[in-house]
Symmetry: C2
Subunit: 379 residues, 2 copies
């Protein structure tokens, strides 16, 4: 797999071969297609090599596209008359979802005309359609959703998975999440040897559920010869810590933790605003401290890390927060672009196949099969 430019075709079609095509669902977000189109325009301004296929109701989307000159010639509009709503049940969408913008967005990846799909729509439906159309990677039992988490790490973020693809996970699944999470951390976060932790209610070996104890023993064995470090059990309080890069858990616990963290951050922001709103001296102080407060808000701004990545499918899908504004959508599309650029899905598939072949006997794994990227994954 080539990570550098393709010199053979570098003369005539340099621009075509280096282009990265993202498939974007214009519909389904809480703020409507205007936010998605604006986010796409922002992201295109940052990434000159990006092209996009935009899926949605042409009558609605075309006028929005016309407002952003940067999209001209780089964005293909694909008409899809129907929309998946937040209320639609995944099973219904799997049966009757053809013709929706979400279905069409995924099919662009399935058909190979785009590398990565991005949608702000209904998470359950998006996972169901992605599973149906893209199918699971060979050897993967349960796909997972991975998301970034603000932390004290040098890079500023940890990765947690699963945050909601499935409500349960057996020991096998947790091990596979570790493999997939480690591959993401290498390719998407530039960490040559990520540290993996297993989320539990205590760090002692005797604590927790049976599947966690089994996964703990097996990860300890695999990590010795694998391409990640296993730091053992971590607790909720370790999520923002510098102890760990990738936190592995089942989708129920991960989803509750993610939303609890977001809710706590929101509550604290509100309390802070209340505190600074009370009294004229406070308001004056807040004005003086504006830069500090902005720097602070930026560090905990959830829009900057918007985008849950579906792992374990034959194609990469990025789920943006339903309530994302243009800044949030641009972050999700930027993440998709980065993953497309490093050919993440090929690397992940190779890693999963390697771990699958190795099974418990991880000594068979070819070291560095995706670590050749080192710490400069976009090279």
């Amino acid at each position: 797999m080539a990570t550098g430019p393709d010199f053979a075709s570098a003369t005539a079609s340099v621009s075509a071969s280096d282009r990265v095509v993202i498939s974007v669902d214009a519909m389904g977000g809480d703020r409507g297609p205007a936010a998605v189109v604006a986010g796409l325009a922002d992201s295109m301004a940052q990434h000159p090599q990006m092209d996009a296929i935009l899926h949605g109701d042409e009558a609605v989307v075309a006028p929005l596209v016309a407002r952003h000159p940067i999209l001209s010639g780089r964005c293909t509009l694909r008409h899809a008359p129907r929309v998946v709503t937040m209320e639609d049940k995944p099973a219904q969408v799997m049966r009757h979802g053809a013709g929706t913008s979400m279905w069409s967005t995924i099919d662009s990846v399935k058909d190979g005309e785009a590398t990565v799909a991005v949608s702000c729509g209904n998470t359950g439906a998006l996972m169901a359609v992605s599973m149906l159309r893209l199918r699971k990677l060979p050897g993967v039992n349960r796909p997972a959703i991975a998301c970034l988490w603000p932390s004290r790490n040098p890079g500023g973020f940890n990765l947690m998975l699963d945050v909601g693809a499935d409500v349960k996970a057996e020991a096998d699944d947790l091990l596979q999440y570790a493999t997939m999470g480690a591959s993401y951390a290498r390719n998407g976060m530039g960490l040559a040897r990520p540290r993996i932790g297993l989320l539990n209610v205590g760090t002692e070996e005797h604590k927790g559920r049976a599947e966690l104890k089994e996964a703990h023993d097996r990860m300890t064995a695999v990590a010795k010869v694998g391409s990640f470090d296993y730091v053992g059990f971590v607790e909720g309080g370790d999520l923002p810590s510098n102890r760990v890069d990738v936190i592995v858990t089942d989708g129920f616990t991960g989803n509750v933790a993610l939303k609890t963290g977001e809710g706590t951050a929101k509550l604290i922001s509100d309390f802070l605003r209340d505190a600074f709103g009370a009294g004229i001296l406070s308001k004056f102080a807040a004005l003086l401290a504006m830069n500090s407060l902005k720097r602070f808000q930026k560090r905990i701004d959830p829009r900057r890390v918007n985008g849950g990545v579906f792992l374990g499918l034959n194609g990469t899908v990025v789920k943006s927060h339903g309530a994302a504004d243009a800044t949030g959508v641009a972050a999700a599309i930027g993440l998709a672009y980065q993953l497309a650029q490093v050919r993440f899905i090929e690397r992940l598939a190779a890693r999963v196949a390697s771990a699958e072949g190795a099974g418990q006997d991880a000594a068979q794994e070819a070291p560095g099969s995706d670590a050749g990227l080192g710490s400069s994954p976009t090279a």
Copy 2:
């Protein structure tokens, strides 16, 4: 059950009959017995009717007690030569824990010389010793640990349970947590008709694990004739909301959520300190904003809500955070005092027995069996 003063004995022994005795474990906290004794002294200053039995190594504790004149005549020292450490496993402590300060603390409640026990020690060991010595309330399958959670509620707090007594809970257990949590909210938080929510990964009825769907259906039925409102499924983001007063979940999920919330709050506080520490103008602004920042810190100060309450035993046990300082210990002891004063355990036992007798047919439940307390639980 009398909630007012006992008039028959009100003449001769008014002071004795109104005294509330708390059993306190002086040992086992991360900051040693000095923090516990100082916290007890603070709490006694706030509650003139409180007496205490203090358990620990006499040679260590007696000199600490002597430093606080307020303890004189109100605090009995009970020598216990051994200490349960944070590393001791619950099963070991159950077999060999006699003679420890923790065991002795619980036995004062078992023997009826104190109403409530307070310890900063090892949570697993404290639950094990409490189960062994106090036994479960008739009809209770799994005891739970309940704790307060900062929220947008008028009272400033929600209650969540279980936060770590057991790593799993069936539908029956979740229903019982709802009954116990509602009783706590009425008696400890002054809410006549608490709103109960079931923690899940979405608010739609089709989401989540099988035991959650069963509990959801049964709570909907019970709430119609019960003494609480059932608001349905809530998500992690609702924990600090004004949608719900009591959040019911299994001990694994609850523990992860609690620690994630604490960890997020700590991370944000650190980021805020960093932001205000950078630059002279920021420092000046921080100085001006001191009152605002203090008001803010107070609202999210975990020491103010220190104390997990063990529910479902023949006696009330309050677990203080292991790292609690004197302020934190005083908060835990103050909570214990409040629960003792309203005869919480008798009310809880009556409520559990009533729910047990009613079973699925909640119509048999005597309405108001503990709601007579109304919104002034300490009356």
